[in-house]
Symmetry: C2
DNA sequence: GCTATTATTTAGGCATGTCTAAATATTATA
DNA sequence: TATAATATTTAGACATGCCTAAATAATAGC
């Protein structure tokens, strides 16, 4: 079996790869909150073990083997989150940390039994797609709230799985399924003014609006957008 | 939080204490399958952290703090085993290893939610008592099969939670609730000949008969008996 | 194109938990 | 009780994964 560190590095690298052009030593260090020197060491080990290809200053790329393991960890994470909500009645915005630890210790059998218990779900409680058993992770076709134009509206389909974000939106009383309409966008700081369910009006920061995903009424082109931050599972 | 090693040492010491008079460095090393030198090191750390009192050649004793943590780990282990059986349909003799890993990572909240989900059970799937939330572990009043006399019979209430034993009894097709009657006992090796549910006849080794516990029809005195082996949770 | 900034690696450490081999202490036995 | 057997500890290593400080390499800006 692989160990926790390996799984964590590969998971973070997998997500970084969707966020930035080059997954460099420093970007990994920043994301994981550790020193670059430590990352250098681990990159050597992961490369040695066939999970990565590395070119200094250019960055790392996951090998098929590395990507497979990363996606497997994400699958376990999302299945566990779903299970905690469904079987144990956890609030959907409180499952992240528990899953973060459990994802490294459950057996294949437990993974399978959870999947079965849940009826082979396609999405987790945040609206994130659950990778299939054979390692396929669906690409999202949803738009971040930050890309909706003024006057557009839609329903929240996914909210990035980050503890601080979920805490925040939890306090705002919005969740998956909530309908939002964009009333205004502030050029200065990129914040968005939205009307919630035709009632309350909220101001969401650029950061938040980047991580809240909408199925728009007028579903339009998806623009490849680079943001940053420690979202995802 | 405490770490896995600390929890494992304390758990093993707790059980050893019920099995042998003196929990020595060597007995811990043997039980855990590691070297005595390693145990010496860890005893120092655990003593330093207030979990143990140690006297060379005499052995270790858990402090109240150490015993509390050991029992807490046992509680988590047994709740997890129960949960895997009840919620995920695991076979009762296949949950040990999974629980062995999960017991070190679940949160207090998860422990509580599992307990609640199960309806605050008093016993796990092997018939072992689950320690209460405030750290009380019931003493068993059951008799090991090895102590029944010829002609006595009873029902299996508990089978020690050891992977190899459970594997063995699983193949023999006996489980909690099975009625056994003692037909003969072999003086030479301590083995027991039992009739199962008035049908099949089985020969059980001394080792197995020590770890299968019976509620006898003629419930009699409990004799403090010392056995050995890596049973328990 | 050179210098300043930034990124990366190396060197040397530390903590954890394990090992083997050798030294030392204790207990058991003849 | 002396010696043999056993238990324990010490010494020196190793792997993992992290650190800081210093050295080196690359990129960016003037």
């Amino acid at each position: 079996m692989t160990n926790k560190s390996t799984e964590d590095y590969l998971k973070h690298i997998f997500w970084l790869n969707r966020l930035v052009e080059k997954v460099t030593t420093k970007s990994i260090a920043d994301r994981m909150g550790i020193s670059s020197a430590s990352v250098t060491d681990m990159i050597k080990k992961l490369t040695h073990n066939g999970y990565l290809i590395y070119e200094p200053y250019y960055g790392v790329k996951l090998t098929p083997r590395g990507e497979k393991l990363a996606i497997h960890v994400i699958r376990r994470h999302r299945l566990i989150e779903s299970f905690l909500v469904t079987a144990l009645g956890y609030a959907w915005d409180k499952v992240h940390d528990e899953a973060e630890r459990l994802e490294h210790v459950i057996s294949e059998e437990m993974e399978f039994r959870i999947d079965q218990f849940l009826g082979y779900p396609k999405f987790d409680p945040h609206g994130d797609p659950i990778p299939s058993q054979d390692g396929v992770l669906e690409e999202s076709t949803l738009l971040p709230l930050s890309q909706l134009d003024i006057g557009e509206s839609g329903i929240i389909q996914r909210i990035s799985d980050s503890t601080s974000l979920l805490n925040y939106v939890g306090r705002l009383d919005i969740a998956l399924g909530t309908r939002l309409a964009v009333e205004a966008k502030e050029v200065f700081d990129g914040s968005t003014k939205v009307k919630v369910d035709n009632k309350k009006v909220l101001h969401l920061s650029r950061d938040a609006a980047d991580q809240i995903f909408i199925k728009s009424n007028s579903q339009k082109k998806i623009i490849k957008k680079k943001n940053r931050g420690k979202e995802n599972a």
